[in-house]
């Protein structure tokens, strides 16, 4: 039997039972829609995060307290207080870390700002003026605080555009005093609108000298992170060695196994972000796969009904010369066509939903979320849906092919 005719008769059979066909493929449609949606959003999310991480530049290295977390039990060490001022001082010495050009300690706290009755809760970063260079964001009004402000623990603050808007509206912010933790901070600079950079939403952030942050805000003597910058990407691995050596010397550690800090590069962060999103995607995909299996069982069920209903047709076809293979191919083609159509509908629906979600995310939440159609997922979806038809169609098709022509013709 030629393929063109097989396709034609498979289409006719599916068209003859339109509503049944539509209901049957619903499971496949939902499954494939979910897969496309998950892949598109997973990819979009990953791109978004990676873009932001890359916003910090590939020449940036960070030191974080505690061991590199290898499991849940290591998580606590992330909050340890191992990064101290002496480390910062040691890393500032050019002779210790010749590949490093800039060093900046970082203290992070969540605080409440108030100005003339307006309050706003936000995170404040204790850093140095190098932050501007690392994040590539310079105040559009006023200026960054200086080394001198850091040394004198000056109460000065550079604020993000949204904080400025919330607290001051359209009026001048520079020179005004904001109250943080019962202390007045003079606004010296305002950042331009920038959105998300790395882990920070720059528009909602305030930067103060790290010395000030430690003394008046957190009351601690350690840093949450030390950020370093190297001259070029090619010296990153050399710089890591120098940094580790310096840190170990500063901490009197001889066995690298006992490090109470860990060094991250942007590449590491990109890798771990990818792992997290990949794991999440895989998890969601397995949920979608369940829908496909359930859908496949539905297909098998309906195909079995169809085989029984069309017993006489099978008998007749065999009487006029159809081989077992012809009948097998005919019914297999029907189930594959059915699920493939479901796959195509699912791909289209998934793409439309993913596009709508990207619209919502980018317009409503102001994320730089790009819609990209997951072409590879679409092709995989088509193949998977056809495979579902093949796998779950094979049993009913075999039953059809094995029918004896006399029994089939006698069937009422």
């Amino acid at each position: 039997m030629n393929l063109k005719y097989s396709f034609k008769s498979a289409f006719e059979a599916l068209r003859a039972n339109k509503s049944r066909s539509v209901l049957t493929i619903l499971g496949i449609v939902i499954g494939i829609t979910a897969i496309i949606l998950i892949m598109a959003i997973g990819q979009g999310g990953q791109d978004l995060i990676l873009n932001q991480v890359e916003g910090m530049g590939s020449q940036t290295i960070s030191i974080q307290p505690g061991r590199e977390p290898k499991g849940i039990s290591d998580m606590a060490s992330l909050f340890s207080d191992s990064l101290k001022e002496k480390d910062y001082e040691a890393l500032k010495k050019k002779s210790n870390v010749p590949s490093v050009i800039e060093v900046m300690p970082e203290v992070i706290a969540v605080v409440t700002f108030s100005y003339e009755g307006e309050t706003k809760q936000t995170s404040v970063i204790g850093a140095s003026e190098i932050l501007a260079e690392i994040l590539d964001i310079y105040p559009s009004e006023g200026s960054f605080f200086t080394d001198e402000d850091i040394n004198s623990r000056a109460s000065v603050v550079v604020i993000g555009s949204e904080i400025k808007e919330d607290l001051f509206g359209l009026s001048q912010a520079i020179g005004q005093k904001i109250r943080i933790k019962n202390r007045d901070f003079r606004v010296v600079g305002v950042f331009p609108q920038k959105g998300q950079v790395s882990m920070f939403n720059m528009d909602e952030m305030a930067v103060i000298p790290h010395t000030t942050a430690q003394k008046y805000i957190t009351g601690t003597n350690y840093y949450n992170e030390i950020i370093l910058k190297v001259a070029s990407e090619s010296v990153v691995s050399q710089a890591i060695k120098e940094i580790e050596a310096t840190m170990r010397e500063s901490h009197n550690i001889t066995d690298p196994e006992k490090d109470d800090f860990h060094v991250h590069t942007q590449a590491d962060i990109i890798e771990s972000v990818s792992i997290v999103t990949d794991v999440l995607t895989a998890l969601l995909l397995s949920v979608a796969a369940i829908s496909l299996i359930v859908g496949g069982i539905g297909i098998m069920n309906i195909m079995l009904v169809s085989v029984t209903e069309r017993t006489r047709e099978i008998g007749l076809r065999k009487a006029v010369g159809a081989t077992q293979r012809d009948i097998l191919v005919q019914f297999l083609l029907e189930s594959v066509l059915l699920t493939a159509i479901g796959g195509v509908i699912g791909i289209l629906a998934g793409a439309v939903f993913a596009f709508l979600i990207s619209l919502i995310l980018s317009k409503l939440l102001n994320l730089s979320w790009a819609f990209n159609f997951p072409l590879s997922a679409a092709m995989a979806g088509l193949v998977v849906s056809a495979l579902v038809g093949l796998i779950f169609g094979i049993y009913p098709a075999k039953r059809a092919a094995a029918k004896s022509p006399i029994e089939a013709l006698r069937y009422e």
Binding site: M1, R317, K318, Q324
Partner: protein, 237 residues
């Protein structure tokens, strides 16, 4: 060598340890171009016999030779091919595919044949013309009368130009006038085109149209008579 030869054919069914003899001691041969009616009351085993003649079923013992070969000489696929090329079937309940047009129904055996696709339409149209329902070619079976449906079924049996047409109670679902028209078509095919026709019926009037009647009773051949008849004046035996 006879076209169709049946030697000591026997068919027994086993169900729940009970042996039922459906056919026993069946012997006959049919030459090319004959018009044979196999007649008998229901339960006489005539349908079982037809299934065996059509290579749809196997005899328990004995031999059935179609063009010199038995069912055991062929694989399943070869049997399908023989049924496709050399045999045509007409059933009591027409068995047309309800979703497709008359023309497509008639083309069905061609689909399973190795005849080139470019010839299908011509062959189907020729067959449809032969049975006189060309004007119905694009209709669906449900839009046709019973007689027209059976004509379409005959055209379907004809389309591959088979050696023999097996008709299993072709008039059973038709009124006697329409039934007679169907028989006339079969006779015309036999006389004008030389098709071998084996007709199964329990109606005497229908069987009388054939030149030869094999009567079955309780699984055995009761009589096998050849007569020269003029189908317009029925001669009572």
């Amino acid at each position: 060598m006879a076209f169709i030869e049946v030697k000591n054919l026997e068919k027994t069914y086993l169900s729940d340890e009970v042996k039922t003899e459906v056919l026993k001691d069946i012997n006959f041969s049919i030459n090319k171009g004959e018009f044979v009616a196999i007649m008998g009351p229901s339960g006489s085993g005539k349908s079982t016999l037809l299934h065996m003649l059509g290579f749809l079923d196997k005899p328990t013992t004995g031999k059935y030779l179609f063009e010199g070969k038995t069912i055991d000489d062929y694989s399943d696929d070869e049997l399908a091919k023989i049924r496709n090329k050399r045999m045509g079937f007409v059933f009591q309940s027409f068995n047309l595919l309800p979703r497709t047009t008359v023309l497509d129904n008639i083309r069905l055996p061609l689909v399973y044949s190795d005849i080139e696709e470019s010839l299908w339409d011509n062959l189907a149209l020729k067959a449809i013309e032969e049975v006189g329902i060309l004007h119905r070619k694009d209709f669906r079976p449900s839009q046709l009368s019973g007689g027209e449906q059976q004509r379409a079924a005959i055209a379907r049996a004809l389309v591959v130009n088979p050696g023999v047409i097996f008709a299993d109670e072709p008039t059973g679902n038709l009124d006697s006038k329409t039934g007679q028209q169907i028989i006339e078509i079969l006779m015309k095919l036999n006389q004008e085109k030389g098709h071998t026709i084996i007709l199964i019926t329990h109606e005497k009037e229908i069987a009388d149209s054939a030149k030869r009647i094999i009567r079955l009773k309780d699984g055995r051949i009761e009589s096998d008579s050849i007569k020269e008849i003029n189908h317009e004046s029925k001669i009572q035996l």
